[in-house]
Subunit: 230 residues, 2 copies
């Protein structure tokens, strides 16, 4: 067992659980842990240098996110991507973020609009330098900011939490430069509608934008059929 990690983390209060949750979630969403893979609490505990307890609590939370399935006395498995889970995640994300953007359109001040513009500009820049991680960072940043502007930041928290399956698809379909440019244009459309105080337009533009990730689904399923359920 790795004592350094163990001891250094012991000083912080409740850091291990959150750290383990983030690590495991990233590993699943990035398909580093591939769908269907069996996970062992004990093995994860050894690899991360903590005991089973924080591992367990993280796994229970990931089950709430539908990213793992825990079968008592049998094992814990990375969930396969299911169409129902994707559809549900899409529904939740659309519902929350579209409702948020309507409110944001009514509440955004001039400095808020400037912040949105800045994010879009940063995305352009990331696109030019082909920095895909940075691009997706600002993608999230834009959506988060739109939710925050509704004064219901919870919309983004819950949307993120529910979007595990969607993010897996997004991560599997990363390298599509044409699509990336289209995404920036869609962002500009949304921000433009917010600026012109057109909630209906903003909602519609965001809804279409959110559905773009689904267009990659058939290709991914053909490429990785073993990642999908049934």
């Amino acid at each position: 067992m790795d004592m350094q990690i163990s001891i250094s983390e012991r000083t912080n209060g409740g850091a291990a659980r959150g750290r383990v949750y983030s690590l495991l979630r990233d590993a699943i969403v990035s398909s580093e842990f591939h769908p269907g893979q069996r996970l062992s609490e004990k093995d994860l505990a050894n690899r991360l240098g903590v005991s089973r307890t924080p591992i367990r609590e993280a796994l229970v939370r990931l089950r709430d996110d539908r990213l793992v399935e825990i079968v008592p006395q049998l094992g814990t498995y990375v969930s396969r991507i299911s169409h129902q889970a994707i559809s549900d995640a899409q529904f939740v994300r659309e519902s929350l973020e579209c409702a948020a953007v309507r409110v944001a359109t009514e509440q955004a001040g001039e400095e808020d609009l400037a912040a949105l513009d800045a994010i879009v500009r940063s995305q352009h820049e990331a696109y030019r330098s082909q920095d895909i991680d940075r691009f997706y960072f600002f993608d999230d940043e834009l959506h988060r900011t739109l939710c925050d502007l509704s004064s219901h930041g919870i919309a983004w928290s819950l949307s993120q939490r529910a979007s595990g399956h969607l993010n897996r698809i997004r991560r599997l379909s990363m390298t599509l430069p044409d699509y990336v440019h289209e995404m920036i244009e869609e962002h500009e459309t949304v921000v433009g509608a917010v600026r012109r105080r057109q909630p209906e337009e903003a909602e519609q533009a965001l809804r279409e934008h959110l559905r773009m990730v689904l267009t990659a689904l058939p290709d991914i399923e053909q490429e990785h059929p073993e990642y999908f359920q049934r």
Copy 2:
């Protein structure tokens, strides 16, 4: 320690955690545990006849629901009712359920409509016999059914999970017969709009209905100021 409970539960897999979560959530929502009250894992473990482990896992989940606040090395407290939490919960519930009812309006079959009618009739009956618990049961049942008809049952799960603070208010304002009758009429309006395939109407009716619970808020805050934050 109560060995009977402990042993009887040991046979089932993962039953203790779920049972403890439901018990604690009910206790908080019903204000049996009053807002601001300090909870002790060890004390709860003794009272429920289980060890700290399932208690901990339930409390962590309740923190996700914003119903408790866990302060490391200090204590766990029942969250006070905050206007932000109420507003967030209302936003989430409206967003999810209104989106669901739109889809439900398009998808409901004749037998689904009959089921909705049956629930409303049961509510009438519960009202006549002044059975408030039964009334609220069918209230939930109607909302859950509407979500299920959208083929996104997750909408109801998440709505429920996010509605802890709202349900606390609802439970604190229980005995209002006039209001109850009004609620039934609102339900009938929603179901009627679904039957006539008017998604916009159904959504609007549901939205207004969902906001009714908030009308009780000022009275409750005046009656129990110590339950509220700040």
